[in-house]
């Protein structure tokens, strides 16, 4: 089966610019997660969707980060404006349902200069 697709693979921007990442989960997977992985740290959950509804966004910096999953399929994560500390790999994961096995994409590596 096709895995979780993410794009772009790499992105380099200057601070205060905007950036968007895209994720297409495995077909039929209702639950979608965005994780942030800063160099030298483990992934940290930013937001969890169940279909097109938000289940948990308690760790999402809402002053600059936003995410949507309008049709309950693919999702977009946006940062506006970016800060230097946003440099990280942004991972998308999906599962068939909540409390089911997660499948991760390869991630988008963001460098903010």
């Amino acid at each position: 089966e096709a895995g979780v697709a993410q794009s772009p693979r790499y992105k380099i921007i200057e601070k205060r610019q905007s950036v968007a990442f895209w994720c297409n989960p495995i077909s039929g997977h209702a639950t979608l997660y965005w994780y942030q992985q800063i160099l030298g740290q483990g992934p940290k959950l930013l937001i969890q969707f169940q279909n097109n509804g938000v289940v948990d966004d308690s760790q999402l910096p809402k002053d600059r980060f936003s995410a949507e999953r309008l049709k309950g399929v693919d999702s977009t994560l946006k940062i506006q404006p970016a800060k230097l500390e946003d440099s990280a790999v942004y991972l998308c994961a999906s599962s068939l349902r909540q409390s089911e096995k997660l499948f991760f994409g390869s991630g988008t590596q963001l460098s903010v200069l």
Partner: protein, 113 residues
Amino acid sequence: AQSVTQLDSQVPVFEEAPVELRCNYSSSVSVYLFWYVQYPNQGLQLLLKYLSGSTLVESINGFEAEFNKSQTSFHLRKPSVHISDTAEYFCAVSVSSYGKLTFGQGTILTVHP
């Protein structure tokens, strides 16, 4: 809240030597435990999990981990490593059987010939 501590950031070993990657967790409630592996330029993959039952769990490629509730540990072991085991390994916990994961900082395992 849950937290995970991986005690070694880097572990270098020679091929065919045994290895142990250490993981300790903290939680006020019962948790489920996972080890994920991330090979270079690939997404996170589930290596093994403890959900219930036997406290010793095994993966298909020779790794094993033992859940020790009294020591709040879930150390990963392999009796004889291969070059292909070179990767970053993440320990993670969840309060649901999969669901939202809290990751440790990761351990980079480098296997030398």
